[in-house]
């Protein structure tokens, strides 16, 4: 099983929306390489014909009646927002200028 490189960690950090500092990248790459080396043992079972378990309970599609119920008011829902305006979350620009 291959280890993990600093470049891979940088790529994963970008995918995870983490603006890591250079020294964090060095440190994490070293630690993650050790962790991945240790957890890679699970691949011992990769070839075995065993069904995967994603969840301890065999529940699927738990539904409730489709009816209006009491919920948070807009003020309550926005109460923790870093910025809001006109009963909406105010966010930085999500599209480029052009």
């Amino acid at each position: 099983m291959p280890g993990i490189t600093r470049e891979e960690v940088a790529h994963l950090a970008r995918l995870s929306r983490l603006e890591l500092q250079a020294e964090e990248l060095d440190h994490f790459a070293e630690q993650l390489d050790v962790i991945i080396g240790a957890v890679a043992r699970v691949s011992e079972v990769a070839g075995q014909d065993v069904p995967p378990t994603s969840h301890p309970l065999p529940l699927t599609n738990v539904m409730r009646a489709d009816e209006v119920r009491q919920s948070l008011t807009p003020e309550q829902a926005l109460s923790g927002a870093p910025a809001s305006e006109d009963q909406r979350f105010r966010v930085p620009q999500i599209l480029g200028e052009d």
Binding site: R17, Q21, Q31, L57, L59, G80, A81, P82, F89, P92
Partner: protein, 497 residues
């Protein structure tokens, strides 16, 4: 009269119901204790003096009106800071949620309030419940009341330390890989991870949704059962909640009789890495169970050796997805929004500033395990291991009623010793993780002090899913026999703070 802070929850509720003491006096005694010792222990992130006294006054008024009081009415509780509390800060031990005041109560919080439990405040924890020492809290580590230079376990170190420091007789934890049981073990307190799905996760800030389970913590088995009964049960707001009756854990805790029960000792939980004094106390507990009339056999669960690697793929994978919600848009911290940066840049800067190193490590690890090309080898294999572990449990429980093991391989280690060595830290969860992967029920209770360091050792009891009552039956019997032998409860031996 014993000091009010030394009362068990059951004694406290009885004294309030009889009018021997008021709920306000009980709340004040605990708030005073917190004011006196918590600067040293750092179990609490937030203490709600006014709210606790108001809740206590309401209990006293209810009694005065002649209304019947519930079994925990007026009993103070320390709530892990991972459950939402309307009007009270909820940080999950993270800077990214500093100052956040939720607009709603978790179902568990609501049930506590409905039971007239007095919530004293919110307890310290490893950030987003990721850790085994509470050192990963953004608000400083919690000390173990047995030795303040040592860890109180984690992630629920604050809740366990609050119990051991007599700051509260009841506490709530969450257990994803051992975060209730391991802190219980190293602080000489009792903790139960109920069957997955039996305590609602609505309002429990998610770390790893298929593993997270809230549960009760206390200083006695009976108190733990009373709290278990108050918080467990079906909740339509949690789609993974089990719609079935909760076993009668309180009656089981009072049985104190293990005659005829079949108990399995898991062969794989021993050997290299296990402290001699931990194994000594564990083996004495097994001998005690035999003396009490249980039939003890050795069982083998070969797949358990792969539980730790599987857990450290599954939990980070789910965490990498769950923690995507901390995007600096709807609540919590926002950094770098100076009008020039895009939403994506602001999100990345905020997460860099708001998350600590362990959370970042796990997000990256989970993202890696789920990425194309590695998914089958890592996440896919870990899911197969999960099946194999469940099969091992099924085979074991075909022959025995419960399994027992040490809760942790070692006693509390010094603060700082494993802080920057993730793999060493992860080993603390070696014996607790299989129950999270399989979703069954497990308890840790004190079984003595390790002779080499005079620190508490935990005995773990594991029961099949929805047979949580067996934990209390065995735990109650062991606790009663040990207290008889010692002439007192183990915490009586803890040093004064």
């Amino acid at each position: 009269m014993t000091e009010l802070i030394k009362y068990t929850a059951a004694e406290t509720a009885a004294a309030i119901a009889k009018g021997e003491v008021t709920a306000v006096e009980v709340a004040r005694a605990h708030l005073d204790r917190i004011d006196a010792v918590d600067k040293k222990v750092n179990a609490f992130l937030h203490v709600d003096h006014e709210g606790a006294l108001a809740a206590a006054r309401a209990v006293d008024a209810k009694r005065a009106s002649g209304a019947e009081l519930g079994p925990l009415a007026g009993v103070p509780l320390a709530l892990k800071d991972v459950f939402t509390t309307r009007g009270m800060p909820t940080t999950c031990g993270s800077k990214i949620l500093e100052g956040w005041v939720p607009p709603y109560d978790a179902t568990l919080t609501k049930r506590l309030k409905d039971a007239d439990v007095v919530i004293l405040g919110k307890t310290n924890m490893d950030e987003f419940a990721m850790g085994s020492s509470t050192e990963n809290s953004a608000y400083g580590p919690t000390g173990n009341p047995w030795d303040l230079t040592r860890i109180p376990g984690g992630s629920g170190g604050g809740s366990a330390a609050a119990l051991a420091a007599f700051e509260a007789p009841l506490a709530i934890g969450t257990d994803t890989g051992g975060s209730i049981r391991q802190p219980g073990a190293v602080t000489g307190t009792v903790g139960v991870k109920p069957t997955y799905g039996s305590v609602s996760r609505y309002g429990l800030v998610a770390f790893s949704s298929s593993l997270d389970q809230g549960g009760p913590c206390a200083r006695t088995v009976l108190d733990t059962a009373l709290l278990h009964e108050a918080i467990a049960g079906h909740d339509p707001l949690d789609s993974t909640s089990i719609d079935a009756p909760v076993p009668d854990v309180v009656a089981a805790a009072r049985t104190r009789d293990v005659r005829g029960m079949r108990i399995g000792v898991v062969k794989e939980f021993a050997g290299e890495g296990y402290q001699a004094g931990v194994m000594q106390r564990f083996e004495e507990s097994v001998a005690l169970l035999r003396e009490l009339g249980a039939e003890v056999v050795e069982v083998s669960c070969p797949s358990f050796t792969l539980a730790l690697p599987a857990y450290y793929l599954i939990a980070p994978s789910e965490a990498s997805s769950n923690l995507a919600r901390f995007d600096a848009m709807r609540y919590g911290l926002r950094v770098g929004d100076d009008g020039t940066r895009s939403a994506e840049q602001v999100t990345a800067l905020t997460r860099e500033a708001g998350f600590g190193p362990e959370v970042k490590r796990r997000i990256i690890l989970g993202t890696y395990a789920l990425s194309s090309g590695y998914y089958d080898a890592y996440y896919g294999s870990a899911q197969k291991v999960r099946t194999l572990i469940s099969r091992d449990f099924d085979a074991a429980f075909a022959g025995v009623d419960v399994l027992v093991s040490p809760t942790t391989p070692t006693t509390a280690f010094p603060i700082g010793e494993r802080a920057d060595d993730p793999m060493a830290m992860y080993l603390a969860d070696l014996c607790t993780i299989p129950s999270n992967l399989a979703g069954n029920a497990a308890m840790s209770l004190p079984c003595g002090l390790a002779p080499e360091d005079n620190l508490p050792v935990g005995l773990q009891i594991i029961a099949p899913a929805m047979a949580d009552d067996r934990l209390y039956r065995v735990g109650g019997a062991v606790e009663a026999a040990l207290n008889d032998k010692w002439g007192h409860a183990l915490l009586e031996e803890a040093p004064a703070l």
